[in-house]
Amino acid sequence: MGGYRWITGLLLGLVGVMMGGGGVLAYQPVIVPNGSTLPYTLVHGVKEFHLTVEEIDHQFAPGMSIKAWGYNGQTPGPVIEAVEGDQVRILVTNKLKAPTSVHWHGLILPNGMDGVQGLTQPPIRPGETFVYEFKLRQHGTFMYHSHGDEMTQIGLGTMGFFIIHPKPTARASTDRDFAIFLNEWFVPPGAFRPNPNVMTDFNLFTFNSRVYPGTAPLVVKKGDRVRIRLGNVGQEGHPIHIHGVSFRVVATDGGDVPPTAQFPETTVVVYPGQTRDIEFVAGELGDWPIHCHRRHHPMNAMGHDVPNLLGVDQTPVEKRMQSIAPNYMAMGESGMHDMAEMAEHMEGPENTVPMMAGDGPFGPIGMGGMFTLLKVRDELPSGSSDPGWYTHPVGTVAHRSERSVSPNADSLTPDAPRYICPMHDSVRQTSPGQCPKCGMNLELSSESE
């Protein structure tokens, strides 16, 4: 499913390339992991798009689907891709049972095209089709989303990217251009309809409305110049972190960031209502995580009121618990990793992805939610979106050592440096004396006692 969408996105992107440029590659099409690009028709020089907003069955990951609201059968809606200077006409058909409108987030356009229900236009009532038409005066990464009953409509998935490519030569081109929409949801474990009333305690965090292990990887070639466009119309800011690269924020939905103002980053926070375009050169081969750095965001559904059992020896009560529920297994004494290891073997609530999931080449990965992989390879795979696990060169993987490291290991050695500066931990010697840095007397380490 993920792979299929990814390819679809790629193909539709290529259609855009050909149609938009009249057979000439006018821009590098955007790749939408787990998503797609919206096709258009050219009508007397106007790019005409058609969005239908409706209730859809949407899969977060294998094993979990929800009733979402989206555009053209998807959440996020398909990416609208065009070029600066284009005249666009967008037809919006409402197949919801509620009125709606579409706001073109970040675009500078006539006020009456801004899509604010009641303020700049009448609501699009169920069954009606509205037309928006304007000229694209900017380039960059923008968004579209419902602008009526946003708690419900955006909360259930009515949002998407509006990507405007610069006129050729206006901006350095990239080899791979990805778009990832961030969002958060609350779906009670075992249920299938998101609760739009939840304001803070979300339990699922998505990249393009997918949770790991349902998220498609971003596959690039070593040396590729890679752009990742991030967008957010949710409730929370997401610090998106990428392993193995240093990137720069090259643009926001306000415009391009001048090269002199760009600074290196490994994490970029994308707040609600913002887009961030980041660029880097994929320099290191391997499978590199891309994830939100808020600790519970790269996780699937967690219990909000689960008792803290860390360090709690449940042995005395486990048997008694089993007399109540025979399959009870004490978990949590040493953290949540039991979950990552046991999830496959234990039955969970219906339609729920385990909190920690995914198997890697070395065992359970134990992630979820806003987590995917940047796969850097020497060659792009042909005919498949996922090249599989990275094959590490011999001797480049951390491995178990026979050397034992314990707090008392030093004291077992006759010449262990037991005298330590109370101010400078790095100053250690085998005999008493003064710290060369501050002159304080070295103290006998308690480690040696």
């Binding site: 474990p189 075992g190 559904a301 967690m302 219990g303 009121d305 689960v306 008792p307 803290n308 059992l309 860390l310 360090g311 709690v312 020896d313 449940q314 005395p316 009560v317 008694r320 618990m321 109540i324 529920a325 399959n327 009870y328 297994m329 004490a330 978990m331 949590g332 949540m336 979950m339 046991m342 999830a343 234990m346 039955e347 969970g348 609530p349 729920t352 385990p354 909190m355």
Partner: protein
């Protein structure tokens, strides 16, 4: 227990049953000192055990016989009277005679006594059967509830132990822990209350079964559950309308007694006498009391009145019984519906709740306290179920009392069914 047909069919006379009761009295007395078991799994066996071992029952039966003998003595035919007279002087005269009150129409009270004895014995046994049965189901319900409460208490202890482990590990504060500790001690006191209550009921039951203090009794919980699926009784012609039977027998007694009272109308006296004065002579004598005062009420007036009273009393009883019976049948039906709702829905849903909670615990979406909570709710529902089973058993027993079925069935009291 099957209520669809009555063990007595309508063709069998009430008197026939009573004669079996008389037999039973002997059986009860004979087995009174036989060694007994104290593990009961059928209500009938407890009732039989109680009837034969409870000294009160035996004493009541003896008292009953005693009273009836006194009544018989009071009403038996008068003995002949020996009369003698001597007059002295010149003309000495001796008269010796035997006089016998003489009433041909007067009935013999002995068969009447038998009849009275049968009915009153049955009354006594019926009352005690019911008491024993009620005490047994009360005990069974209280024991089952105690067992369930112990399970609840264990769960509360488990939760408290878990909380203590969390406290010791530094994961919760004393503030968070104290409610668990309170719950643990409170559960302990509640169990002791429940034990005291069961102790009270055990002691009642021992008394009613004629057992010594401290003798262990085990009553299978199947005594309660046996009523769950018993067919709902329908008011049938074969039911013994108990009050009516007693009423009928009492009225029969009144009529018979009124016949005995013919003497108040005028008891003839007849005698033979021997007279000696100047010669020896045998002669006949007779007397009759004049119905001047008592004669104002004649048997002919008295008996129709008695019959009329009997009919009206019978009608009153019939009305009351028919309404009570309908009410009980409705209660039984409702209680069985309640039980079916618990058995088919509430309890399975509670079990599903535990399973679902377990799935959430497996995925660390819920913690062990949630399972304990769910399990406690199941036990609480089971306690409610026991309450309904108890109410159903009591309703059936009331119905038994009303109709002479089940534990009040005379056939049961004879020891065979």
């Amino acid at each position: 227990m099957n209520y669809s047909t009555h063990p007595l069919d309508s063709s069998r006379s009430v008197m026939g049953v009573f004669s079996r009761l008389v037999m039973m009295s002997f059986v009860l007395f004979l087995c009174a000192d036989v060694a007994f078991g104290r593990d009961f799994d059928r209500l009938e066996s407890i009732v039989q055990f109680g009837l034969s071992h409870n000294p009160e029952v035996r004493s009541r039966l003896l008292q009953n016989d005693h009273q009836l003998m006194e009544w018989t003595l009071a009403n038996q035919l008068e003995n002949p009277t020996l009369v003698g007279r001597f007059s002295g002087g010149s003309a000495q005269k001796i008269e010796v005679g035997i006089e016998q009150p003489f009433d041909i129409s007067r009935p013999d009270p002995l068969p009447l006594m038998d009849h009275y004895r049968d009915v009153s014995r049955w009354s006594i046994l019926r009352v005690h059967s019911l008491k024993i049965a009620q005490a047994s189901v009360d005990f069974a319900a209280a024991s089952a509830i105690l067992d369930a409460r112990r399970e609840l208490s264990n769960m509360i202890h488990t939760a408290a132990d878990l909380a203590k482990a969390q406290l010791d590990a530094g994961n919760i504060s004393r503030l968070d822990y104290l409610p668990y500790l309170i719950a643990e001690y409170t559960a302990r006191t509640q169990i002791r209350d429940d034990e005291r209550r069961v102790g009270f009921q055990t002691s009642e039951l021992r008394t009613i079964l004629g057992m010594e203090a401290g003798e262990p009794i085990t009553i299978s919980s199947s005594i309660l559950t046996s009523f769950n699926d018993a067919s709902v009784p329908t008011a049938g012609v074969s039911d013994l309308n108990v009050e009516e039977v007693i009423n009928r027998s009492q009225i029969e007694g009144m009529i018979k007694s009124s016949e005995l009272r013919r003497r108040v109308v005028g008891t003839p006296m007849a005698g033979i006498f021997y007279e000696h004065d100047d010669g020896d002579r045998l002669g006949l004598a007779g007397s009759v009391s004049l119905p001047i005062h008592s004669g104002r009420v004649s048997v002919d007036q008295y008996q129709p009145l008695t019959v009329a009273i009997s009919d009206l009393a019978g009608e009153t009883i019939r009305l009351s019984q028919s309404n009570q019976r309908t009410l009980l049948i409705q209660s039984i039906r409702t209680l069985q519906d309640q039980l079916a709702t618990y058995r088919d829905h509430i309890l399975p849903i509670h079990r599903e709740l535990i399973d679902e909670t377990m799935k959430h615990v497996n995925y660390m979406l819920k913690g062990p306290y949630s399972i304990i909570d769910a399990a406690q709710k199941l036990v609480e529902a089971r306690i409610e179920l026991i309450g309904y089973q108890h109410a159903l058993a009591r309703a059936y027993l009331e119905y038994d009392e009303l109709t002479g079925r089940g534990v009040c069935d005379p056939a049961l009291m004879t020891g065979g069914k």
